[in-house]
């Protein structure tokens, strides 16, 4: 089990160190020692957000946050005997609906004729609604960001997706690279961390 001593660190440092450790190697289980309540709560939230189950125990004045991929969330008080299981959370309410993430890294589909490729992409975006409410997030990166700007063929369809509550994320680095930051008409500007997190939370990732 990987261990991290985050004592003496001020928020958001404990979360950032935890994140760095997860990025370095994705361990099955992880243990973080912190010395204040705020850091304990924040590290616990971060691990749960990343899909870990967490257990908190007190050691002297410090807190040990243990994250694992099995079992239930348990909070163990200082002098408690047997740990109590928390009731199943509201997080489970939508457990049966699949979350599909679609990533468009291009503004045309396939190789060959570019004009045909662009037509296909427009048709793809217009037809995407057939996925229904399992379509969870739509991300545009690299040349794909050109599909979100003023004048793009399927812009109207993307806007109506967004109006219906679909989260559309557009890579900020890519918009800046093509000098299109001002021209984006739909979606939120995003960063690589959001994209990685979305990939991790999704049940299915489709890359165009």
């Amino acid at each position: 089990m990987k261990e991290l001593d985050a004592r003496g660190l001020v928020c958001p440092q404990p979360v950032l160190r935890t994140r760095a450790m997860l990025e370095e190697n994705n361990p099955g289980d992880i243990k973080i020692i912190v010395d204040n309540v705020a850091a304990k709560e924040n590290v616990q939230r971060f691990l749960e957000f990343q899909g870990f189950n967490t257990v908190i125990s007190e050691q002297g004045g410090d807190y040990l946050v243990t994250g694992s991929h099995g079992g239930k969330t348990i909070e163990r008080g200082a002098g408690d005997g047997a740990p109590e299981q928390e009731p199943a959370g509201v997080e489970e309410r939508e457990a049966y609906k699949k979350k599909i993430l679609v990533i468009c890294a291009t503004d045309r589909i396939g190789y060959g004729d570019d004009e045909l490729g662009k037509k296909l992409m427009t048709s793809f975006l217009k037809t995407l609604k057939e996925m229904g409410d399992e379509l969870w997030r739509l991300i545009f990166v690299n040349n794909g960001v050109k599909l979100t700007i003023d004048g793009a063929e399927a812009l109207g369809d993307l806007k109506s997706f967004e109006a219906k509550g679909l989260k559309i994320l557009v890579c900020g680095t890519c918009l800046a690279h093509f000098d299109l930051l001002e021209k984006k008409e739909v979606g939120e500007t995003t960063n690589m961390l959001d994209i990685i997190t979305a990939m991790q939370l999704a049940d299915k990732v489709i890359t165009m």
Binding site: N42, T189, N191
Partner: protein, 322 residues
């Protein structure tokens, strides 16, 4: 500790409020307040604006009109370029100009860490002073700025916020509460405060405790910076939010259907937050639409002071979150 006082003190240290109020004649009282802090954003010009908007806010929250201000500056002049200080002060002055307030002096000291703020003096009619302590049964609560600046600023420190979000939250913090206060003056308002370091829940708790009334909060209607929910779920929460929540835990009735991140946001310490206004229930919707007409776009009805039935059930001095 006992504090010196006299019969002209309308609001003093004995009743912690946004600012002190001192009667100088039958139709005029002075409002005095001071506020300063370390930088909350990297850009010195915007930091100056935010510090000024924040210092002026206490006068607006009391229902008064700010008139004069003095700078308070701590700056490491031997290590840092004075151009940085110039930008901070320029930001402060520009915000004062926007508010129609004149800078009449100031004081600076050499310090390792930058700090900037202002002492502000305003005026008000002695009978028109709005404190935190007059919630009335049947009032509704209106909030004028979105919550979540503390969480977003923590995410910014962690390097996970987009440039667009940095800009929009900076503008939000630098926005004066003047327009909100001007609109509020035309309505039957019982109590008002501005939401700052103790978070929405902490400042509401002061109103609730001071008035001997309970409040019910419609958590789904509270305006929030939308990215703050996700940052809260990721653990980018300032230490102050945890302290604010714990400190008021015994007052709060929280059903388990409310997501943890939403409660984190209600407890999140705000920099230069909005006004929390208690208005006659039948005027609340009109107040919100007038605020929106004046450009206070985040304004929303966020709660109510329940009538007798609920108070008889023992909800006095509690905050019910629904």
């Amino acid at each position: 500790m006992t504090f010196p006082t006299d019969e002209n003190v309308i609001v003093g240290l004995d009743r912690a409020d946004d600012a002190g109020v001192y009667k100088i004649s039958e139709d005029c009282a002075l409002i005095q307040t001071v506020d300063f802090f370390t930088p909350v954003v990297d850009d010195p010009y915007w930091f100056g604006q935010i510090a000024a908007a924040n210092a002026l806010s206490d006068v607006y929250a009391m229902g008064g009109t700010p008139k004069t201000a003095m700078n308070l500056v701590a700056f490491p002049a031997s290590e840092m370029d004075l151009a940085v200080l110039r930008e901070i002060i320029k930001g402060g002055i520009d915000k004062l100009k926007e508010a129609g307030v004149v800078l009449v002096g100031g004081h600076s000291v050499e310090d390792k860490e930058i700090k900037y703020g202002l002492s502000v003096t305003g005026t008000i009619h002695p009978l028109r002073v709005l404190t935190k302590k007059n919630l009335r049964k049947g009032d509704r609560l209106v909030l004028t700025k979105a919550l979540g600046t503390g969480i977003v600023n923590t995410a910014i420190k962690g390097g996970v916020a987009s440039a667009a979000l940095v800009e929009s939250v900076t503008r939000l913090m630098a926005t004066l509460n003047r327009d909100a206060a001007m609109v509020m003056a035309d309505f039957d308002v019982g109590a008002c405060t501005d939401v700052t370091g103790f978070g929405f829940i902490g400042h509401l708790a002061e109103m609730v405790g001071g008035s001997g009334m309970g409040a019910r909060i419609f958590s789904r209607q509270v305006p929030i910076i939308k990215e703050a929910m996700e940052f809260a779920a990721m653990g980018f929460i300032p230490g102050g939010a945890h302290k604010n929540r714990q400190f008021r835990e015994s007052m709060i009735i929280l059903p388990d259907t409310i997501e943890r991140s939403l409660m984190d946001i209600l407890a999140d310490p705000q920099t230069s937050g909005g006004l929390l206004i208690s208005v006659r229930g039948n005027q609340a919707d009109e107040l919100v639409s007038s605020l929106k007409d004046k450009g206070v776009g985040d304004a929303a009805v966020v709660g109510e002071i329940p009538g007798d039935d609920l108070h008889e059930q023992g909800s006095a001095e509690h905050i019910w979150i629904v």
